[in-house]
Point group: C2
Chain length 258, copies 2
């Protein structure tokens, strides 16, 4: 059974101010909880008897057994899972050290939690360990974002930074890619295995200040070129197509020799 205080605490984590004040975040579902438990310290786990007997290896400072109906009382989801857990939020190393040998993602004002979570998930798939967000982006530890990452937060580091200030510190010849309507065809532009890939806000794209610091403007062409179409792709979808193309070119798949 829930203790009143614990239930209140879990519910409070839907709000950023409480996540920040408590240094904690909530994850729901066996997949997310299982993966995150391997990386983050688990303050407590609340689960059904069935989950607990099937998953004796998950380590947590405290474990409570509740019914599925009780789990629903704290869930942020429409369909509650049989487990939820509260983890310590990682404290970002200050100042953040940008990798110059790898590809990193930079998100300039991505607002939708589903989009941010989907982007963190695809960053994991495409082997991109760092996602750097502007301070006005959605919070990576909001329940809906954690849910959409499907456990990817266990392997992808998300940091928040002043993007213009950060971009001004990169070496002059360091590739900073960004997607723009008038950019070069991404399939024709040679892509490097390292660099930054900047993606913009859902409605407004990359802000002018950040855009002025992008030195390689790229574009995902519509098909066939010139046909009337939607104005743009969803930001998570565009990020995926771009990351896939970076990796295709880097991996030098067999067909490139055709």
């Amino acid at each position: 059974m829930w203790s009143k205080n614990k239930l209140k605490f879990v519910r409070s984590l839907a709000q950023k101010k409480y996540r920040d004040a408590e240094g904690a975040f909530l994850a729901e579902g066996p997949k997310a909880v299982g993966e995150l438990a391997a990386r983050f310290n688990c303050r407590f786990l609340v689960a059904t008897a069935d989950y607990l007997s099937a998953n004796p290896h998950i380590r947590a400072a405290e474990v409570d057994e509740v019914s599925l109906r009780e789990l629903a009382q704290a869930s942020c989801l429409t369909t509650p899972h049989d487990v939820l857990a509260v983890f310590d939020k990682p404290v970002a190393p200050a100042p953040f050290q940008l990798s110059t040998t790898r590809l990193s993602l930079v998100l300039d004002g991505v607002q939708d939690p589903g989009n941010l979570g989907t982007i963190i998930r695809l960053a994991d798939w495409f082997g991109i360990p760092d996602v750097i967000c502007s301070r006005d982006s959605a919070d990576a530890f909001a329940p809906k974002v954690v849910q959409a990452t499907m456990g990817a937060l266990a392997r992808v580091q998300v940091v928040y930074a002043d993007l213009p200030a950060l971009l001004k510190t990169v070496p002059r010849d360091f590739p900073v890619y960004g997607t723009f309507m008038e950019g070069d065809n991404i399939y024709a532009a040679p892509l490097s295995p390292n660099g930054l890939l900047v993606m913009g806000n859902e409605g407004n794209g990359i802000s002018p200040e950040v855009g002025s610091l992008v030195n390689r403007r790229i574009h995902i062409p519509s098909f066939p070129l010139g046909r009337p179409t939607v104005e743009s792709l969803n930001v998570a979808v565009a990020t995926a197509v771009a990351c896939a193309e970076f990796r295709r070119q880097t991996a030098a798949a067999p067909h490139t020799s055709l």
Copy 2:
């Protein structure tokens, strides 16, 4: 000002049974309404005075002027727009005639409205005019789906069909692609400019029955290969990466001669 009946009618369109019974669907926002008005008959338009004076060209059988606060009473969105419209739902041509010269998308149980809308939007971007959904997929005319399509429903036809029955009617050598964990590397598999691309349910992928009718199993490789990662990509993201690769190969972009 709203008439009580109209407000009730608009609100009822959040439910599929009323959309089906009335043969109507709701769209919100200037982008969606503007694009859809070019294709679908608009039963009525409800908008602010500012919208109406700025958009005199939008044709509708009836036009009502209301305040933004009144629009919020009928909105399915967190942030209401300055216009909404009710359109006639297209009646599907029966039976649906599959194109054998173009690429079409087949969705086997895509459940999330945001995913379905995003997929219809990217189908428009990548020049795919037909999206064929299994009957247990989300409804393309649900308000959240319409919203996520960003007007793409004006150019992309969505039909619902018995997928196994439909797939059994295609010629034996007609390419039916589907994404599977054990499929061939999509970058190494030559992709045809025509055919079907089957994408599966968010949690379970392609159903066994539909999967048995897929004759070209493909896979989007993670990077670097073999590293632990999330189990899969989000379905809209995977659809985008696959469609982009179909179009890249078809367009024979300059770099393929490198």
